[in-house]
């Protein structure tokens, strides 16, 4: 058993610069002779990205943000030796600037409900003992000793759990189909091929709580009658691979994987398969092709993978997040789980909340929470002076939901009906400095590279849609192009081979649905009101608003702005590259976006650099 310690220092955000934190802490604690009393634990992600790296001291729960190695001696001196918080490093509530010392009191976490991410950031993911200490593998024990596979499936069905990968297929039904499928050899596959740009839920989970995934897989294996599982992880997640491998090894040592688990006679083993990082390999048939060692390209599937999947054998493919829910459901019961969420969407969902927002990060909320609550209450709303224009959900294949519909409850059906999708959990807040044409273009740019290119509508259609969007951005489009774009988008949606292609037009279609006027404005007025499409806009100083503070001069990378103190400044249109840095910097709204065409009409102004 683990030794007893007086206190734990939990260090999150183990990427990049924070890598030095743990050694520094250990050195400092060693220097002070407290090595036997205080333990330094490198934990998984806590989701609160805007303030990382974060350190929390247990058991009292002091929570320090933006911790640098230089801060370590002070934390050790103050908190661990003298028992008082370091005010300098506590979290400050953004509006009131009030200092919040304890983790539990931070509003970012207040509205969240952490089921999937119950352990990440709190336990050492490389220690199976810690996972067991927080109730890990209890569910597996319960399932193997007291339940039949049918009962497990029934429980999952009753819980209402649906696939967290995005499509929302009912997990219980998938398990049942796999169980009923003919075949001696069956597989459980965990999909950890998280491909959405900016999304890292699966990664945080696999890095921060790998055993939760393994336990979920073992239970799934028992339920569907599989003895072999595979975790498909992208190779860009080396820590996830490392922690999962370690976890598998430990579970073997503890008899929680392998032959005759817990004396039940049930055998289950798990292998890690590393994908090379192709978005399309998140698609189930492409993933299985890749697992089989072939090129990750989707197949037409009129026969479900539950009947003929990996190596043509019945295969149950679940997202890692789906699987991490399973142990909790088994322990706390389907009814408890079903009590969370909406009628058709039960439980919680993890999101990666990013974009023009104050508290970006990884969150987990109950299904049914409105977008507004997520964006404002958890995300802290847009930065000063900005307005939320839309929320993009569902990753590159998702859609944009306008401000007017922010009271939408987040669940599978509602999001679909609004023209977007749940997806794997990307959520991007777009503010009024976001151009909807540009955002469509951005996603199609991503998909153009990530489409496997097998089927013609996806490959050729995305290329053509992107061409039209680029033309619109550049002011080269004509009115009929929007109709062509829409026709193309609908064809790609209807005719593509796999989910990637079928959902690829979503960004275009949803922005067309809600922001068609913005598209038209780009074409008819040759103007991008958000100031993003550079060919269409010019930035000018509004003389009577300019206080001559010079901030814009400082931020201009092109040295295109000139002006004396307290005198209105001038932008040299000849050298301005329309980056908008001045616009974002100005505290007096003295910089204005105007159509590029109007530059000619401006009075000639001398610019003195």
């Amino acid at each position: 058993m683990a030794d007893l310690y007086r206190a734990d220092v939990l260090i999150s955000c183990l990427h990049g610069q924070s890598a030095d934190l743990a050694p520094t802490f250990r050195q400092e604690i060693e220097r002070r002779g407290m090595a036997g009393e205080v333990r330094v634990v490198e934990t998984g992600c806590r989701g609160f990205c805007s303030v990382g790296p974060v350190v929390s001291i247990q058991p009292d729960g002091e929570f320090y943000v933006n911790v640098q190695p230089a801060d370590v001696p002070e934390i050790v001196e103050e908190t661990l030796v003298k028992g008082r918080p370091v005010q300098r490093l506590t979290y400050k509530e953004p509006t009131t600037r009030k200092s919040i010392t304890k983790y539990d009191d931070i509003p970012f976490y207040g509205k969240q409900m952490r089921i999937v991410f119950r352990n990440t950031g709190l336990i050492d993911p490389q220690s199976i003992d810690e996972y067991i200490a927080v109730g890990g593998y209890e569910a597996l024990g319960k399932v193997l000793t007291s339940m039949t596979p049918e009962e497990v499936i029934e429980e999952v069905k009753k819980s209402g759990l649906r696939g967290r990968g995005g499509a929302g297929f009912r997990t219980g039904r998938k398990w049942e189909s796999t169980r009923k499928a003919k075949g001696d050899v069956k597989y459980v596959i965990a999909n950890g091929d998280e491909g959405d740009p900016g999304a890292f839920m699966d990664r945080s989970l696999m890095e921060g709580d790998p055993h939760a995934v393994l336990e979920g897989m073992a239970i799934a294996g028992f339920a569907v009658g599989a003895n072999q599982g595979y975790v498909y992880v992208r190779d860009e997640y080396p820590l996830a691979v490392k922690n999962l491998n370690l976890a598998i090894q430990q579970a073997h040592e503890y008899g929680l994987l392998g032959e005759d688990i817990l004396g039940s006679g049930f055998a289950f083993d798990i292998g890690i398969v590393r994908g090379a990082g192709a978005f399309v390999c998140g698609e189930s048939s492409a993933l299985m092709q890749s697992l089989e060692g072939k090129v990750g390209e989707p197949r037409s599937k009129h026969v479900h993978a539950t009947d003929r999947g990996l190596w043509d054998r019945p295969s149950c493919l679940n997202n890692v997040e789906t699987l991490a829910n399973i142990p909790v459901i088994m322990l706390r019961g389907a009814e408890w789980f079903a009590s969370i969420g909406t009628e058709n969407s039960k439980g919680t969902k993890g999101f990666c909340l990013v974009g023009k927002i104050r508290n970006p990060g990884l969150i987990e909320v109950p299904m049914g929470m409105t977008l507004k609550e997520i964006i404002y209450d958890i995300g802290g709303g847009p930065p000063r002076g900005r307005k939320v224009k839309a929320v993009q959900t569902g990753g590159p294949s998702g859609g944009c939901i306008p401000t007017s519909r922010l009271d939408l409850a987040v669940d599978y059906e509602t999001l679909s009906q609004a023209g977007s999708m749940m997806g794997s959990g990307g959520m991007i807040a777009l503010d009024d400095r976001t151009c909807m044409v540009d955002i469509s273009r951005f996603f199609l740019e991503f998909l153009k590279d990530e489409s496997c290119g097998k089927c013609a509508p996806c490959r050729e259609g995305i290329k053509r849609m992107l061409e039209i969007l680029t033309a619109i951005s550049n002011g080269d489009a004509k009115m009929g192009d929007i109709d062509t774009l829409e026709t193309l988008a609908k064809t790609v949606q209807a005719a593509s081979l796999c989910g990637l292609g079928k959902s690829a037009p979503n960004p275009v279609l949803s922005t067309l649905q809600y922001f068609r006027q913005e598209y038209e404005q780009h074409i008819t007025e040759k103007f991008c009101p958000s100031g993003v499409c550079r060919s269409l806009v010019a930035y000018v100083v509004v003389d009577d608003k300019c206080k001559g503070c010079g901030l814009c001069i400082k931020v201009c990378s092109q040295e295109s702005i000139a002006g004396s103190a307290k005198q209105p400044h001038v932008i040299d249109q000849a050298t301005c590259i329309q980056c908008g840095a001045c616009f974002d910097a100005c505290r007096f709204d003295a910089i204005q976006v105007i159509p590029r065409s109007q530059v000619e009409l401006l009075p000639k102004q001398e610019v003195h650099a």
Binding site: L447, K448, C452, G453, C455, A456, E460, K463, A495, L497
Partner: protein
């Protein structure tokens, strides 16, 4: 039996059929590009998209991949289907604006002009993957595949570099719907195919072949190459020809057989091989397409050959001057010392053909004209009268000039001068030589070979078709260079020798066998050890020789310590008498 409704009418389908199968079977037209009946459906071009209504839900699916389930309702012509196909054809036409198949299909859906900008007007590939699948799944040559992803996807060999793995089977060109693949032969020249030998695994041996049916070259055919020859099982590879042959004329089970025959006589008629003129670099063979061997000239001038029998240069023009060089590799101590016997006469024939077909000037470099046969000298005179320039002297060197012309240098022995002639084509009358694997035949039958590699007859004058192995005879060039009449005569003699044996019905064995004097035999058994024919056995403690098995080598005689064995006709006394005799005489 599944029942489904297609465009309002009911059809029946098997469980393993797709919607496309049912439609094709019933004459319902559905356009396809990436589909081929010989291969698994792929579902990439999406052109066969149809509307499928199941349990009241309507969805678009590709007919090629969707099973023809019971109770489906399928619409192949609905507005939604039409719209999808129209948009798709717009995309295809924009990609490949000048491919007739695409143009025609697009026109059917009302698309006459590419709706989008064309990147590459010469693009023909629609990435349907048929070539990739035929190469990998059917042919199993695994030479081409897709590279890159998304809009950068393209088809090619690994790293898009030339590969030696391509076997040039051409299956990809056959299945390609848009004609995007060409087979380009690396070696340029008139001879679009090599002058000798086929280029594909299936070919008609000769245009003049009777019956004129193709054959499969099992050494080149991938299907046969991949079969496990040890157990004779044919691999499940390729079979494109069988799949595509409408007459069902291809039967892979027709195999070469190894027949076990018990025979009394064998005629070895293994013929000759052509000597490779690359072995003597002064002839520059291989450095110009216009330096060819006599055998290649035969192919070139053959009506079934690559030029239909015309004698042409690689640019398609007729040569103006041709040199024919005799004794290339024959009568040459750097190659074969012997005379190949046939070259003089075929060279004269070639000269005649060149004169006849092109009117070109012909220079014939000869050392001696060996026109020894009946009518041969007359032919020689006729060719001379046709205006062929005869140069007596070895054609020594052929140079390839920078302008592509060929310069033949040699000595005109009659004039006593060195000579150089610039010509358009050089025909090398190369030597014939014993087959490269004659040593195996030699070991198999215990045949002797002469120094130049030909099989040795039992006696150069008295037993010209027999060998030293009883029952094995030689015919034709296996024994040495011969022209056709001589070969026929020699083969006739060999046949007659065999027939002589057959006619007798009994074999007379040589009387030179060994005999045991049992009185003197002490039964030591050394003779049993030496006998290579196990002709000696021990009977009642003493050696006994089976005269039918004994070949009379006499090794046992020399071995017997007791002097109890006698070699008939080579007895000790006889040999001693010879020894004494020759020494007395000397």
């Amino acid at each position: 039996m599944n029942k489904l409704i297609i465009d309002g009418a009911e059809y029946q389908a098997q469980d393993d059929q797709t919607i496309l199968d049912v439609c094709r079977q019933n004459g319902i037209e559905i356009p396809t590009l990436c589909y081929h009946p010989a291969m698994e459906p792929y579902g990439a071009c999406r052109l066969c998209t149809v509307e499928v209504i199941r349990h009241g839900w309507s969805n678009l699916h590709t007919a090629c991949t969707h099973p023809a389930w019971d109770g489906l309702e399928v619409k192949t012509q609905s507005p939604a289907v039409y719209d999808v196909r129209r948009t798709l054809m717009g995309l295809f036409l924009s990609r490949c604006p000048h491919v007739p198949v695409i143009q025609n299909l697009a026109r059917q859906y009302g698309v006459t002009e590419p709706p989008f900008a064309t990147d590459d007007p010469d693009q023909k590939c629609i990435l349907c993957g048929l070539c990739v699948r035929v190469c990998n799944d059917l042919v199993k040559a695994n030479v081409i595949n897709f590279s890159d992803r998304g809009i950068d996807r393209q088809v090619g060999p690994p790293f898009l570099e030339k590969t030696r793995d391509c076997i040039g089977c051409g299956a990809c060109t056959i299945v390609c719907p848009t004609g995007a693949i060409d087979i380009v032969l690396e070696e340029a020249g008139v001879y679009a195919e090599k002058p000798l030998g086929p280029t594909a695994a299936i070919y008609v041996p000769s245009l003049q072949a009777v019956p004129r049916v193709p054959v499969i070259d099992t050494d080149s055919c991938i299907r046969f190459r991949q079969q496990d020859r040890s157990n004779g099982k044919i691999a499940d590879a390729c079979g494109v020809c069988q799949t595509l042959c409408e007459a069902n004329a291809i039967d892979f089970d027709q195999q070469d057989e190894i027949l076990d025959l018990t025979v009394g006589s064998v005629i070895v008629a293994t013929g000759f091989e052509m000597w490779d003129p690359k072995k003597l670099s002064q002839y520059s063979y291989g450095r110009s397409p216009h330096i060819i061997t006599g055998m290649e000239f035969e192919r070139l001038s053959n009506a079934g050959g690559p030029t239909g029998g015309q004698i042409l240069l690689s640019d398609g023009s007729k040569p103006k001057r041709v040199a024919i060089i005799h004794c290339v590799g024959s009568r040459d101590h750097n190659a074969h010392a012997y005379c190949s016997r046939i070259c003089c006469m075929y060279s004269l024939k070639h000269a005649h053909l060149v004169r006849d077909k092109t009117g070109a000037e012909v220079y014939e470099f000869y050392m001696d004209m060996r026109a020894f046969g009946k009518g041969y000298e007359e032919f020689y005179e006729r060719v001379q009268e046709e205006g062929v320039t005869m140069v007596r002297g070895r054609g020594a060197v052929v140079d390839v000039l920078p302008n592509g012309k060929l310069r033949v240098k040699g000595e005109d022995a009659d004039l006593g001068k060195l000579l150089a002639v610039d010509v358009d084509m050089v025909v090398l009358s190369t030597a014939i030589e014993a087959p490269h694997d004659a040593d195996k035949i030699s070991a198999l039958f215990g045949l002797g070979r002469t120094a130049d590699g030909w099989f040795a007859e039992a006696h150069p004058k008295l037993r010209p078709v027999e060998t030293n192995t009883d029952g094995v005879f030689l015919a034709g060039c296996a024994q040495g260079p011969k022209d056709v009449p001589d070969t026929v005569a020699h083969a006739g003699a060999a046949s007659a020798a065999v027939l002589g044996l057959l006619d007798r019905g009994e074999v007379v064995i040589a009387p030179t066998v060994a005999e045991v004097n049992r009185d003197d035999c002490v039964g030591c058994g050394d003779c049993l050890l030496v006998c290579p024919y196990t002709a000696i056995t021990r009977v009642e403690g003493k050696a006994q020789i089976n005269a039918a098995l004994c070949k009379g080598c006499g090794t046992c005689v020399a071995t017997c310590p007791s002097g109890a064995i006698m070699a008939l006709h080579f007895t000790d006394d006889q040999i001693v008498a010879q020894i004494d005799g020759v020494l007395a005489w000397a």
